[in-house]
Structure formats: C-alpha cells, structure tokens
C-alpha cells in the first residue's frame, strides 16, 4: 500500500524562469532565484506553512537543494521530494548538439558501478529500452540519495511524447523500476489526461498517480475539460491537479472552490515566490478544501 500524498505540494517552476503568462516575469524570477539561498528561503517559508513535499525537476540546481536538506536533517525531519524526470531541456539541448545517439551516449554513465556500465553498454547495442530507461532513471536519481522520495514522476514532455508515439512499454518499465529499485510510487505528468489513462491501462499500470492541469477554464487540458471531468468521475487513478490557477488567470479562491467540488482530486501542486503568497494560497486551500 502506498503512502498518502499531502494535500498541498510545492512546485518549482518559479525558480527556473518558467512562467506561462509572461516572459518578462519569467526572466525576473530567473534573476531573483540565481542563488540557492533565495530558493531555500522560499522553501523554508512553504515549510513554515506546513508544506513538506517539494515536487521538483531534476535540474542541476536541485542537486544543491538536495545537498542543503541532506546537510540539515534536524531542520527538515519529514521533508519529501517528488522528483520529476528527466529535466527535458538538458536532453533536448544535447540532441541539438550531438544528435540523438550522441546525446544518449553522453547521459549513459561511463563511470561508477561496473554492472551499470555493462548494463548501459549492452542496452545501447541491443536497442533494449528497459536497460536504457532504468539507467537514465538511476542517473537522474543520484542527486536524491539518502533523501525521502516516495513518488517519482516521469515529466510531461517525455510522457506525452511517448504517449503520442504509442510507446506503451516505456510506462510499464518506468513504473516497475521505480517500485523495485526505489520503493517509490510511479507518477506521470501529462497534458493529455484522458488519453494517458487509456494508455496506462494498456501498460498494466494500475491506479496510477497522474498529475495534470486541472482548472476551471480548461487551460492546457487537451482532450477537453469534459473529458477530464469524466475521467475524474469514472476512472480509477490518483489525481494531482496542477495549474489550478491557470497561470494566474483564475483567482485562488475561485480555483480552490473548483477543486473542492471535485472530491476525487487528492492533491494540488502550486508554486509561489513569496511567503505572503504561499501563506494566502495555503490559507485559502485549507479553508475551502480541508483534508478529507
């Protein structure tokens, strides 16, 4: 039986210059969060508001956050990371530079355990996706060693690319590896929820944790908001809602009323850059959407 998921999860888009509304705002945030201390300060503010789960990409700077939490166990006794991998830009840029195979070789660990090296070399030669996927997951997970990672996510660009291609096996392989090697629950982030649920069924991944945009205006809910409503009502999965504020197009109160009316939603992931915003969003969430 997998561990329960906190109601409110803290996301990391705001730390890395991702803003779906404005490039200017994204740039301003990238400037503000150049130092790891600035990120830690915001994470501490979220922690002070009772938010103990950090859902983050495997951006190289997250390694510094992981180091910080590892160094200060007394400050974060119950802190959890939900890694979302891979950090897609790293791979996309590598493909532009070295081509598809070159990039794959670059990320296959060349050092470390002999067995890993053998596994990756053999996998590349045999076109064995199982070997390639598991080695890539292991290399992304290295930065979280010794930390609590009860849920490990496959990030949306990869999930949706594989989904469109019909690469069903990859989901099963990822889920099995995450369970056996890390004792964690596999999670999937997607912009195409109804289609993904069908594909996960085919892959034999049962009652999956799926994180997707869910908001009152249907922003980035491919397949249509009705399809999402139906999925919430009829399908067996563990939904985590992201983008409930639709990048600021919906006010927090209205957003959480919408969430409250959909009791199937287990958790909401949100990002904020200031203690004030975190406190007010968390306050609204707890008032309108108390833990059930």
């Amino acid at each position: 039986m997998s561990a329960p998921i906190d109601r409110l999860l803290f996301g990391d888009n705001q730390f890395f210059g991702v803003n779906h509304m404005s490039e200017e705002k994204a740039r301003a945030q990238a400037m503000r969060f150049q130092s790891t201390e600035a990120i830690v300060e915001v994470l501490d503010a979220a922690y002070a508001e009772g938010i103990r789960t950090f859902m983050c990409t495997t951006h190289e700077r997250i390694a510094e956050i992981a180091d910080h939490v590892r160094r200060n166990p007394e400050r974060y006794p119950d802190y959890r990371f939900y890694p979302c991998m891979p950090y897609a830009h790293k791979y996309a840029n590598a493909v532009t530079q070295d081509g598809m195979l070159g990039a794959l070789r670059r990320f296959m660990p060349s050092e470390g355990l002999l067995s890993t090296a053998l596994r990756s070399g053999r996998s590349l030669a045999a076109k064995d996706i199982e070997g390639i996927v598991t080695v890539l997951v292991d290399s992304e997970m290295r930065m979280f060693e010794g930390l609590s990672t009860p849920v490990i996510f496959l990030q949306n660009v990869v999930v949706d690319l594989l989904l469109g291609l019909g690469f069903t096996d990859a989901f099963r392989i990822f889920a099995e590896h995450v369970r056996t090697r890390y004792g964690a629950e596999p999670g999937f982030i997607t912009m195409n929820l109804p289609m993904l649920l069908d594909e996960l069924d085919r892959a034999g991944v049962e009652n999956p944790i799926v994180c997707a945009n869910m908001n009152a205006i249907g922003f980035r809910m491919a397949g249509g908001i009705e399809g999402y409503e139906r999925a919430l009502a009829e399908r067996r999965f563990r939904p985590i809602a992201m983008s409930v504020l639709a990048s600021g197009a919906i006010a927090p109160r209205e957003a959480f009323e919408w969430v409250r009316d959909r009791p199937e939603i287990e958790a909401v992931v949100f990002g904020a850059s200031s203690h004030g915003n975190i406190r007010s969003t968390a306050g609204i969430a707890r008032e309108l959407w108390p833990a059930g």
Binding site: F16, G17, V18, N19, H20, M21, S22, E23, A26, A30, H89, A92, N93, V95, T96, Q97, D98, G99, M100, L101, G102, K127, I129, V157, D160, L161, L162, L163, G164, L165, G166, F167, D169, A170, M191, N192, M195, I217, G218, F219, R220, M221, A222, G223, G224, A246, S247, G248, A249
Partner: protein, 374 residues
Amino acid sequence: MVDVALVGVGKMGLSHLSMVRAHPDVRVVGVCDSAAYVLDVLGKYTGLPTFTDVERMLDQARPEAIVIATPTASHAALVRTAIERGIHVFCEKPLTLSGEESTELSRLAEERGLVTAVGYHNRFVGAFRELHRLLEAGAIGTVSHALAESYGPVVLKPKGSTWRSRRGVGGGCLYDYAAHPLDLLAWCFGEAESARGSVLGSIFSAETDDEVYSTLRWPGGVTAQLSVNWSDESQRKMTTKLSVWGSAGRIVADRQEIQVYLRDTAPAVEGYSPGWNVRYTTELTEPVWFYLRGEEYSAQLDDFVRAVAAGRPGESSFASAAVTDRVIDRILRDAEAGTAAESASLPAGGLAAAGAAAPTPRRGLFRRAARSAS
C-alpha cells in the same frame, strides 16, 4: 482518415510523429530515416511500419500526405519526389536553401493542386495570431517599422557535431532561427524587397553564423530590424518577439502575451481601448486535441491534416515559405557584399597588414574567448 508518412525522426520529426499519430483523423502508414538505430527502436516498441528508403516507403505505404523533418539540405529533393507522386506535403522550415528552388516547388505543387505547409509554428501561437489580426484590422494605423527578434541557447561552445553546425547543409542561425521571425514579418507585411546592413556573425561556430542582423524594407516604405542570436545562454529556450510601430499605436507580441498600446486616434477595435491593453496566452489560445511542447505545434499539424481532408490550402503554404527563402537569399547576398567591401577597403595583405586598424577586433576577441573555453 488521412494516410500520412513521415521522413526524419530527429528531434522535430519525433515530436511531429507523436502528435500526428495521436491525431484522430490520421493513420501513420510509414516512418523513414537513414539512421537505423532510432528507427529500429521505434519499430520494435511501437509497431509502426519503418523504412530506410523513401522511394520504397512511398511505393509500399502509398501515403496521401507526407511530413518531412530531415536536415534542410535534403528538403528540395524529397519535396520534389512527393510532389511528382501527387502527395500533399508538410515540410519543416526553412523549405529549401534557395529562394529560387522554393518558388519552383511552390509552383509545381500548385499546378498539381496539392496542399502544402511549412513548419512555421509561430503563426499558430495565440499572441502572434492576435497581432496579425490587429494589423489586418488597421488597429495601429499606418505601420512604419517593426523589430523582429529571436534569441536562444543552441550553440554555446565551439564544437558541434551535427548538421546544424554547417551552413552548407542548412545549419546556422540564419536558416534555423532567423527564418522564424522572417516568416512572421512575411506573414504580416508580404515580401521585403531589400536587405541592407546585414551581418552574419560567428560567435562559436567555425562554419556557420551564430547571429544575424539586418534592415529590411518593403515596397510602400515599411522597414524592419531583424535581430537574432542562437548563442544566447541567458534564454532558457528559444524566444521570438515581434514589435510593430504604427501611426496610431504599438504592438509587442511573444509566445506568452500581447501588449497593445493604442493612441486616442486609433480606430475602434472590439475588446481594446486607448492606452495599454494586455492579453495572455490563457485567453488567446485555442484548445488542441493533443498537447506536446506547445499548442502551436499541434495546431499547425491539425491545420495541415484538415486542409488535406478538405482540399483547401494550408495556413503556411510553400508560396509564403518561398517568400521567406527569397528574403534569406537577400540577407546572404547583402552580408557577402558587405564582407567583400570590407576586405576590399583593407590594405594589401588583409587583416595582418592592417594591424591595429583591423576592422573587427570584437569578433576576434570573442573567438579567442571561445577557444580558451573549450
């Protein structure tokens, strides 16, 4: 159902394949690439029919439409083959490496009544669509000038080993990056008649350009500055921005938002008022059937598929892509003429003899910095 084949499974090709395969009205009948590795993996795990030879794929899979996502230098021959067989074509940008060739292919496809499209996805970005609509409506009066910019982190160090690092095969900032803002300009203003003061600068690349600057002029007097740099690490990913000045206001648009300033003298446009108006992607973007990396990529393939099904022209046809390719030619010729004039003005013996008066010390400095960083 439209039977679609795809050539080239690099980064763009894979992404197109994923979206087109997920399209409810498409059946993917073949995938072709010369690199057997990725192709074998695809065949093994997705069951898609794969080919290493385009002619064989076209003979056996008999697609109605084809998506071409190979390196640019190979576009012309592949497009020609498809047209000769009466196959509708979606081709990645730029269409070819020569304005003349693109014009000819556009004419051939038109003669045969084929649907054509080129991967200029910015035309499907909500904010750019809104900018286009406002210009058509004359919202900012008589347009005098535009600034078209694209920046991003593609080439950040001296060595690159793919086709993108060689201009001869279609690599370089001009073909790969500048083509996007140039297409937006062509969409809004038609064909620029001249390019002046063009600069094709190298920052890291030995065999191609990493930055492009030019001043374009249209019949009727509109001008535009083009400013493009794909070695800009300050950007997380490619960002394209178009600013337009008119007698009654100004519009600035990028992928996320459109900012419109209207003077009191501006004609009334529904939903807009004098002063600043800001609209975000959340309200400007139409939902798509499948999302990968941005609605615009799905929307452009959807437009192509629907155009094929309905037998109507696509939004971003070969004819409009040929305009962009002819302008690229003008920029290349202008930059070469500028370089030639520059070296002609040097004393015999070139740069070395010119000593301290060498005309491009800045570039030399960058080259040295680049080498020491490697």
